[in-house]
Subunit: 192 residues, 2 copies
DNA sequence: GTGCGTTGTCTACAGGTGTAGAATTATGAA
DNA sequence: TTCATAATTCTACACCTGTAGACAACGCAC
């Protein structure tokens, strides 16, 4: 379906509010009205695009999650994705760029919840797995946004290898299984 | 200035593209044209709002940064901010919600760079301080977005105390000063 | 009172938005 | 070829966007 591909590309580039139905249609070689004839409305088209994205995991491949170095592999994948701005890697990007629109945010929430968050929760060890899975997704979101949307200088110009090495310990934190003590009693390794 | 306050509230709620000049003006008790008379354009108004926000640090107070428990305090502050949706706590929110608009993203990048990122870089120990400061800001952004914009269930309904306890080790990671070894040689504490 | 600069508003424009309904064209079977 | 049916487009509507230019109300010095 050419319309779906065009919509995906357009939403990834400009977000839900930033692109019009006419533009999506034109890039697909059809008229704006055909889009509505097929999908009912712009909102339903967006939902269809997001659902389509969810069917093919990008960062969270099953192999990555069960790996013994899951945290490291996730860090590598995140850096890889945010470095090359290729076409098939725009999965999450669509949702961050559209999050400011309430309608789009609701769709994104539902789909992230049902797919990525559920999968990730099952893969994380230790207590509070759902909350920690959500935080992990938050880190992924933050890095993507700062690197690709805001374009913060220090992140945008950072060599991939350095970024990977800096991200790995952060992600490892989520797969740690030792010292889960009650709040406040755990020592931190800060320098005072 | 009533217009500035109205604009700040409106941008925080709906983002740069999501709100119109007429709405901002009406909530300030004036006409849309007066806004342009004072600020020149919507874009310049947005820049003014962002610059105004930057003058009063929200998470990164100087006391927080030099504290011996800087990481913990930052985690606490982040949870506090994303829990209560009060008026004066909308600082970053404005930028995430507006990041999909290129014009707004450019303004946000410049201001974050000049204020928050610079300050945070100076406060972080160890090598790659700029990159790690940017990553820290990315984590803050991700949590805010997932919690307040996407509204991911696991994060939205998570008790503040739990969230704080889960965030602390993540933030501590950025203030660690031990074991900065070359890439790949550092042991991770994963369970295999 | 008279002039004047500021403050604010009114009207209007050119363009964009999503989408409903009618009209048109292409397609395939008889 | 003829005709029914599906695929696609045309026209139009009602509304919203940022903003330029002309105009009116205001306080205030003289």
């Amino acid at each position: 379906m050419a319309i779906l591909a065009s919509a995906r590309e357009a939403f990834a580039r400009s977000g839900y509010d930033g692109v019009g139905v006419r533009e999506i249609a034109e890039r697909a070689g059809v008229t704006a009205m055909l889009v509505n004839r097929y999908f009912g409305s712009k909102e339903r088209l967006f939902a269809e695009v997001v659902a389509d994205i969810m069917t093919t995991p990008i960062i969270l491949t099953p192999e990555t999650l069960v790996s013994a170095h899951a945290g490291d592999e996730m860090a590598d994948a995140l850096v890889r994705i945010t470095t090359a701005d290729g076409a098939p890697l725009d999965g999450f990007q669509i949702m961050w760029r559209s999050a400011s629109s309430p309608a789009a945010a609701a769709i994104a929430r539902r789909e992230i919840d049902a797919h990525y968050h559920k999968t990730l929760t099952a893969a994380l060890p230790g207590p509070h797995a759902p909350e920690r899975a959500a935080l992990l997704l938050a880190v992924v979101a933050g890095v993507q946004i700062m690197r690709q949307m805001i374009g913060l200088e220090a992140l945008a110009s950072c060599p991939p290898e350095v970024l990977t090495e800096l991200l790995r310990p952060v992600f490892r934190e989520f797969w740690r299984t030792d010292d889960h003590q009650p709040p406040g009693t755990r020592g931190n390794r800060r320098k005072r």
